[in-house]
């Protein structure tokens, strides 16, 4: 399925002194099987944007088309849309409410009116994806888990609805490095094995750089760039200007080049960087001792 946003604008509290234009003329589309990273500063409109994708917000102007069908306004079937587009909010663990983890993850499928058997299968699948053992955890209370585990339960709660498009708003915010890696690995697996379209909103450039195959940069409610990571992250000056930065590796490669090592300063993936640095060092060009 595809989602299209056509000239979407969103104004909060219109007609009051608190009026604020969060989105201005947003125009883009999401196609099947994409892995999109959305980056931008706090207040750049990322969260407002993704809430338009599953009908939680309706545009003040413009329209949202899902598979060519208008979804904005009262016309669209919101429930059907939310069935297809799963949205994991920032600090998703704050939405947990049930007595047991099983019940909490089953909340979504239950709302879809599925059979008990199907619900159990879905809960099992979702827990497997996020790396929680079904038999160990199903009867436990979600509130006795660690922050990272709670986050995973919350993500499983959306996965159990089997969305065709999965949107995650800062899924790794506030987690320790291991927790971050676990969650990102799960998301990547989902994308690769089950062909789920993923939209990942993040502050962390390294995350987006390694996972996404298309990056959208937002600034002040507008789309500044919409291109593959290689194209976006090499425009370091432009990113700096709006208070964002490129992945750390890119800065390392630039510094190495400046110091005289013959490396490619457009590399931002850790693995590629390692290969390239080793190659440059072995080829013997440049000074043996670097001053950075």
């Amino acid at each position: 399925m595809s989602v299209q946003l056509i000239d979407v604008s969103h104004i909060y509290a219109q007609g009051t002194p608190f009026e604020f234009a969060a989105l201005k003329d947003i125009h883009f589309s999401i196609e099947k099987d994409e892995f999109i990273g959305i980056i931008g500063h706090t207040g750049s409109g990322k969260s407002t944007l993704i809430q338009h994708l599953n009908g939680l917000l309706t545009p003040t102007q413009g329209s949202v088309l899902v598979d060519g069908v208008e979804m904005s306004g009262a016309k669209g079937d919101k429930l059907a849309l939310r069935r297809k587009v799963g949205l994991v909010f920032q600090y998703a663990e704050h939405q947990l409410f049930e007595e047991t983890i099983y019940k909490d993850i089953a909340f979504g499928p239950k709302n879809l009116g599925l059979t008990e058997e199907e619900i159990e299968n879905r809960v099992k699948d979702a827990m497997e994806v996020v790396g929680l053992d079904f038999d160990t955890y199903k009867e436990r209370s979600p509130f006795e888990l660690s922050g990272g585990q709670m986050r995973r339960v919350a993500i499983a709660g959306v996965l159990s609805m089997k969305p065709e498009i999965l949107i995650l708003d800062e899924p790794t915010a506030g987690l320790d490095p291991y927790g971050k890696e676990d969650i990102l690995r799960s998301i990547n697996q989902l994308h690769e094995k089950q062909q789920t379209t993923v939209v990942l909103v993040s502050h962390n450039m390294d995350e987006v750089a390694t996972l996404a195959d298309r990056v959208i940069v937002m600034s002040k409610g507008q789309i500044l760039m919409d291109a593959p990571p290689a194209e976006v992250f090499t425009q370091v000056e432009k990113l700096d200007e709006i208070g964002l930065s490129a992945p750390d590796i890119l800065y390392l490669m630039r510094a190495l080049k400046k110091a005289g090592l013959d490396v490619d300063d457009k590399i931002f993936m850790p693995e590629e960087a390692k290969e390239d640095i080793l190659r440059a060092l072995k080829s013997g060009e440049g000074k043996p001792c670097l001053k950075i």
């Binding site: 939310r82 704050h94 409410f97 979504g108 959306v158 609805m161």
Partner: protein, 273 residues
Amino acid sequence: MFKDITIGQYYPVQSKIHDLDPRTKIVYTFVYIIILFFANNYVGYALGVAFLGFLIAMSNIPLKFVFKSVKAILIIILITVILNVFVTPGNVLLRIGALKVTDAGLINAAFMAIRLTLLIIGTSLMTLTTSPIALTDGMEYCMKVIPGVRSYAHELSMMMTIALRFIPTLMEEADKIMKAQKARGADFETGGILKKAKNIVPILVPLFIGSFKRADELAMAMEARCYRGGNNRTRLYELEYDKNDKIAYIITAVMVAMIIASRFLPLMRIPIQ
């Protein structure tokens, strides 16, 4: 859905009313509420309307916004009007079955509606022109004057400050949780009362847990900064009256005098108070 509540909302614009000392506004509002019950004929009410109109004009707040607060109690006003129209005894003007409309009832109903509207607008004007922090500051000062409450004044106002501070946060949180559950297919719009009440559980539980956690963290943060109540605590900004406050007090006094005087005018009275 939570964004349209105007009672208790602050409307940040520049005006003479906004700049008044919060104590002045609290005292005025208090006096206004009491004096409204002294008005017993249309001159008194006209005065009440006139003074309020003057304040609204001075406050630079759009009329539309001021009247939004009346919308919230429209049902209460309607019930009052209907009760008054049919229940007040007097000369019968119209009979509908067992119900009868009297002249006294109509007059009473009209006055009641005006009084309620003035009460609501008068009080919401205070919150519209005073930031929550200034308001609780003013209340603390006012409470310190009342014997018996004096020793709790600081604690009470601190509680109020914290409560006011967290209202928008809680609303935002509720809105966010609601959206998160909607994203999981929850439906808050359809169904009967029982189903709707049941549907609120997925919002209330996370909201309560979040609030308790937040309260705990706030208490810890306050203690970490050596908060120990109001004893010997000094303030960064002391409240001080200036010329405009004195003028406002004089206007308040004039209003009181005029409305009380209007009672003695031999004009159409409210039949039953």
